[in-house]
């Protein structure tokens, strides 16, 4: 393999990692507050189309990212009202959100098929971002740096701030948090909205950076991989970053299997690899039984205050 090919492959890995890292971080915060939102895939698609649409109208990809965050968060509120206000089943409601987001994004997206959007300008000087070697560090869209930056920021928020402590308390023991005066429902609304916004930006990375155009169902199940990632990471931000890159490498395998001389197996084998390995990774992590200790105690359970 030539150096050029290695650099191209590394950049592909980073690109494939970014959406699942963003969506995974969002879901991690949501789950830390005790809410399991299976609607990640739907929120990513809503973010993908919202970001794309805003960019088409404003020619400004930065506004597009804001639009994506808003689109993802707005769709997550449908889920939030149902599970927080009406105590509906979180698993089924999350699924409904995915089905809804898939359908609605396709409907909205119809008028955007075939349109293109202006790319982000690199935050770094062209000497670095276009440099044949240094582009492997400096040559990405700002969303990539945002995603990486959000890893320590999320960790800091969860473990070093008062708000993060309250959020974890709500996820660990909702009744205690309620009895000392914190708004369980309020905290969970915020956590779900954050999860939606992050998934939305993750989705927009597909429509605004990777392709960059709109196609229905373009996130192709990555929302589910993001969900698996949170379990895989044992609800820890550092491990989430490592896990996201692990899956990014697996996904890149499909694209580079031929070039790397892996054509001894059919291309479908490499395409199935990320999903197969997700199952394998979940099995290894779950079999060790250590992640259970770190799982938020109230995850997925409805909160019914006794008064």
């Amino acid at each position: 393999m030539t150096v050029d090919l290695i650099i191209a492959a590394l950049m592909t890995v980073v690109g494939l990692t970014t959406p699942i890292l963003l969506a995974g971080l969002g879901e991690l915060v949501t789950e830390k507050a005790g809410v399991l939102n299976l609607g990640v895939e739907g929120m990513m698609l809503m973010g993908a189309i919202s970001g794309f649409a805003v960019t088409v109208f404003t020619f400004n990809p930065w506004l597009g990212v804001l639009g994506a965050a808003f689109g993802g968060a707005a769709s997550s509120m449908l889920f939030a009202v149902l599970v927080l206000q009406l105590n509906s089943n979180q698993v089924a409601t999350g699924l409904a959100l995915t089905i809804f987001g898939t359908g609605l994004s396709s409907l909205i997206g119809l008028s955007f098929v075939g349109r293109i959007v202006p790319p982000f300008t690199s935050p770094f000087p062209a000497a670095l971002s276009r440099h044949p070697y240094w582009e492997v560090i400096f040559g990405y869209s700002p969303i990539v740096y945002f995603a990486v930056l959000m890893v320590p920021l999320t960790a800091w928020f969860l473990h070093r701030t008062r708000a993060g402590l309250i959020l974890r308390a709500v996820g660990e023991n909702d009744h205690s948090a309620h009895s000392i005066g914190y708004s369980v429902v309020g905290v969970r609304y915020a956590a779900i909205a954050f999860g939606g916004a992050m998934a939305g930006i993750g989705g927009a990375y597909f429509s605004m950076v990777i392709t960059p155009m709109w196609a229905e169902k373009m996130t192709a199940g990555r929302g589910w991989i993001a969900l698996a990632l949170v379990v895989f990471a044992g609800w820890r931000t550092g491990r989430l970053l490592a896990g996201a890159y692990f899956f990014g490498i697996l996904m890149a395998l499909e694209l580079y299997a031929k070039a790397a001389g892996f054509s001894f197996m059919p291309s479908q084998f490499w395409a199935a690899m990320p999903y197969l390995m997700t199952v394998v990774a979940l099995t290894i992590i779950s079999a060790r039984g250590t992640q259970g200790a770190n799982a938020p105690a109230c995850l997925g359970k409805p909160f019914l205050p006794s008064t």
């Binding site: 299976l38 449908l78 149902l82 009406l86 105590n87 509906s88 089943n89 698993v91 089924a92 409601t93 699924l95 409904a96 959100l97 089905i99 809804f100 898939t102 359908g103 609605l104 396709s106 409907l107 119809l110 229905e216 199940g221 589910w224 969900l227 698996a228 379990v231 059919p266 479908q268 084998f269 395409a271 199935a272 999903y275 197969l276 997700t278 199952v279 979940l282 099995t283 779950s286 079999a287 039984g289 259970g292």
Partner: protein, 362 residues
């Protein structure tokens, strides 16, 4: 005035039945408003999606053929959902079921007839339940979340399909198009209503709900599933093995999805191509909830969903709405049914808001 929720002594049977109907009606109204907002004739769209397939008799066969796989898959999923086991990979089990049936058909070459077709269908059920056995064993042995593993295997199943129909099982006379050779008459399910497309699978979908009803209400297994779902601790005290319940409910779900795949292949489509997975496995989840996890409910809800599929196609040509619209309606129904769940266990009361006049000590 403000809303107050009062817990009911007993879950309301009336609400259990009324809320799915309310959900469908509310979906129609909301759909009308949303479509008008989007610049589409909402009234016409809703009429075409929900009523035209029922009123136009020539659409009935399409509804019946579409409802069959939805009902069969939903029956299996409802058993799991009752035990709080979440199999969302029915789509993959459906694919593997169809492939297993195709494998048997190809192995018999030109030979067909009753026993070959029966073998194909049994192979479909075994294939589907084998695919579901993976998340089942992973869940019970290693505590792996079955939601994620069953869904991941759906993507794997799609790649298996892509490999088989593009490679070993590709039709040699198919102009290089990735698809299996179409089934001969001798390997296809018989048509039960002459002059229509209504095949034996539709009849099976009509009978199975009653079989499931009998088993779930009369047999110990049905009771065991309900106990494990509502109170795992009580199940343990009662001597019910929750592991076995998890494995059996997942494998029943897989067998039913595999059966649906085999019937769809041998009865309706006759060949498997890349477009074979059409989302029945996911829509069946909605059917199962809309049918309140009850076998007869699944039968009715399966027909309702099939109507929206067929009606969606009608509306595509009449008011030019995209294919995805039926999916939005289906999701809306699921949202509304989940939202109305609270009415079963709670009573909504309007109470005069007690004005907090001079609350001391606050």
């Amino acid at each position: 005035m403000r809303l107050k929720l009062e817990k009911r002594q007993e879950p309301s049977m009336a609400m259990l039945i009324a809320t799915p109907i309310l959900a469908v009606v509310a979906t129609m109204f909301i759909g009308m408003i949303v479509f008008d907002f989007l610049g589409i004739d909402g009234f016409r769209a809703v009429i075409d999606i929900f009523l035209t397939p029922l009123l136009a008799s020539y659409k009935w066969q399409d509804v019946a053929v579409k409802a069959a796989p939805l009902i069969i898959i939903a029956l299996g999923l409802s058993v799991g959902n009752r035990a709080q086991v979440w199999n969302i990979g029915a789509e993959g089990q459906y694919i593997i079921g169809a492939l297993a049936a195709a494998g048997v058909g190809i192995a018999f070459g030109p030979v067909g007839g009753f026993f070959v077709i029966l073998l194909m269908i049994i192979a479909g059920m075994i294939g589907g339940s084998a695919w579901a056995a993976v998340p089942a064993v992973l869940r019970t042995r290693f505590n792996v979340n079955e939601i994620l593993s069953s869904l991941m295997l759906t993507y794997v199943a799609a790649q298996v399909l892509s490999y088989m129909v593009g490679g070993p099982w590709k039709d040699p006379n198919g102009r290089n198009f990735p698809a299996t050779a179409p089934l001969t008459e001798a390997q296809s399910l018989p048509i039960v209503v002459p002059g229509t497309t209504i095949h034996l699978g539709v009849l099976i979908a009509l009978i199975l709900p009653f079989v499931f009803w009998l088993v779930m209400s009369r047999a110990v297994f049905g009771y065991q599933v309900r106990v494990v779902g509502s109170s795992p601790q009580a199940a343990r005290h009662g001597g019910f093995d929750s592991r076995r319940t998890i494995i059996s409910t997942l494998m029943i779900g897989g067998a039913m999805a595999g059966l649906a795949g085999a019937l769809e292949f041998t009865g309706a489509l006759k060949a498997i191509n890349l477009g074979f997975p059409s989302g029945y496995g996911f829509s069946a989840i909605i059917v199962s909830f809309l049918g309140r996890l009850h076998p007869i409910g699944c039968l009715i809800a399966g027909i309702v969903l099939a109507v929206t599929y067929v009606g969606g196609q009608v509306a595509q040509t009449t008011v030019h709405i995209p294919n995805a619209t039926a999916g939005i309606f289906q999701a809306m129904m699921l949202f509304l049914i989940l939202a109305s769940d609270i009415l079963i266990r709670y009573r909504v009361r309007f109470v005069p808001s007690a004005k907090p006049q001079a609350v001391a000590g606050e």
